[in-house]
Amino acid sequence: MFKKLFNAKNQTNEITKKLKLPYENIFDDIVICMTGDSSIFVENYKGVLEYSSECIVLRGRKQEIKICGEHIFISYYTDECMKMTGVFRSVQIGCFRHL
């Protein structure tokens, strides 16, 4: 079963590559654009799990993104994209909240 899943994912990957389609739309992944350590632009997220001035945790389809830093300030937030400013120290991917 795992082999089937792996094969299916591989095939999707190949088709996306060949047809030059955007990965984030096909795989529904979070897209993060970082400018230095002062500005981050995020798209394709599901929501905010945790927010404080030192840390923010965003939920994606399959994973969570934890961004740590200082004076984290959300310039704007919509359903599709958001922009944050501040001094960012680290970006981690994983599972950070036990529901």
Binding site: S52, I74, Y77
Partner: protein
């Protein structure tokens, strides 16, 4: 930001255990949220004015409390103005007043005129019905230019420009035009400017008509610009024209009268006060006009207009009247004061003459007594250069 200002936005402080859920729900429900900041337990953010009701509905779901902290934008400003409607009327009146005034010409500048005096020009403009104030659209610059050229022979070129509330007329007179004629064909004689006796004459070009010691009258020919060329028999064969040039000094007498009354007002100033005045469209308003205009007051008018307002000086100008009231006593001049006054006025006369390059050789002062004043006759013997 500008569109948010036009629509109106508010600053909200939200607190509660599920602040993140509130932000997520705002995003899901299409409520645009920006400038989100987290300080301790309070999240502050901006939302548009129209989304406030939708936010209130979300607060129940998230068990959060939201407090409206600040209001920004045009809708809130207009609400404040609605309460003070007279301010709006005043603003509208001021703007319309300025716009109406801008349609008129309030200042006329004439430049480049030397032979034609400003008063001549002003008289001409009044005849052409161009006065202050005049409607700017009624002045046809091309037609006025043609009229000036046809009315004044001395003018060779004219430019008229309407700039703001100012009409600028630049003229170029024919005397400014450089003669391209050969100087040798041009003749200029020297004439006496005043009566007197020739003290010295040094001729550089031309034929002198007078010599040292001759008595001349004003307008007499001193040096002729036509040089006769004689042949061998002494008959004038030809004439050569030149510009007569000579240093001529004429001695003449000049008489001046200085009048000093026997008595004068010795003023003792009691009170001084200043009043504002304003002139709008040539009509002056000031409390000074209501004062009893007596002989015992001096009024000095001070203009406070800034330089930038100069062009609108006849449309809008303001300043202050300084009024001084005084008591006076009629006092007679003492001999000392009289002599001092005579000396001062004589010195002033001599200074003015020296500025005009007149040399004073002798001075004779005679004092005569009339009914009400002293008549001081000052006779000068002067040397003037022609």
């Amino acid at each position: 930001m500008f569109s948010a200002f036009i629509k109106g936005y508010i600053t909200v402080h939200a607190s509660g255990p599920y602040k993140e859920r509130l932000i997520n729900l705002c995003g899901k429900r299409g409520i645009y949220v920006w400038d989100i900041e987290n300080e301790e337990d309070i999240v502050s953010f901006h939302i548009l004015k129209k989304d406030y009701d939708a936010l209130n509905r979300l607060l129940e779901k998230t068990a959060a409390k939201a407090v409206l902290v600040e209001k920004h934008g045009l809708p809130f400003l207009l609400n404040q103005v609605k309460r003070k409607i007279y301010l709006l009327f005043g603003f509208a009146f001021g703007v319309s007043f300025i716009l109406i005034l801008q349609c008129f010409i309030w200042n006329i500048r004439i430049e480049g005129n030397e032979a034609i005096t400003r008063s001549q020009f002003e008289k001409f403009l009044i005849e052409e019905k161009i006065i202050i104030p005049s409607l700017a659209s009624s002045i046809d610059c091309y037609k006025l230019k043609d009229t000036i050229l046809s009315s004044f022979d001395e003018v060779s070129w004219v430019s008229i420009e309407k700039k703001g509330c100012s009409l600028r007329i630049i003229v170029k007179e024919k005397s400014d035009v450089v003669d391209l004629v050969d100087e040798a064909q041009y003749r200029k004689d020297l004439y006496a400017k005043n009566d007197g006796v020739i003290v010295s004459i040094i001729t550089r070009s031309g034929v002198p008509n007078v010599k040292k010691g001759d008595r001349v009258k004003k307008g007499d020919l001193l040096v002729c610009g036509e040089i006769p060329i004689y042949n061998e028999e002494g008959i004038v064969k030809n004439t050569q024209l030149c510009i007569a040039d000579a240093d001529i000094v004429i001695e003449s007498d000049l008489c001046r009268h200085i009048y000093i009354p026997f008595q004068y007002k010795n003023k003792d100033y009691i009170k001084e006060k200043s009043f504002p005045w304003i002139c709008i469209g040539g009509i002056e308003v000031s409390p000074v006009k209501k004062l009893n205009q007596t002989n015992n007051m001096e009024v000095i008018k001070e203009y406070s207009c800034h330089n930038r307002l100069n062009k609108l000086s006849n449309a809008l100008c303001f300043g202050r009247y300084h009024v001084k009231w005084y008591d006076y006593q009629i006092v007679s001049y003492t001999d000392q004061e009289k002599n001092r006054l005579i000396q001062e006025k004589t010195d002033y006369l001599m200074k003015r003459m020296q500025e005009k390059n007149i040399t004073i050789k002798q001075k004779n002062v005679t004092i005569q007594k009339n009914d009400k004043k002293w008549d001081i006759i000052v006779n000068f013997q002067i040397w003037t250069k022609q």
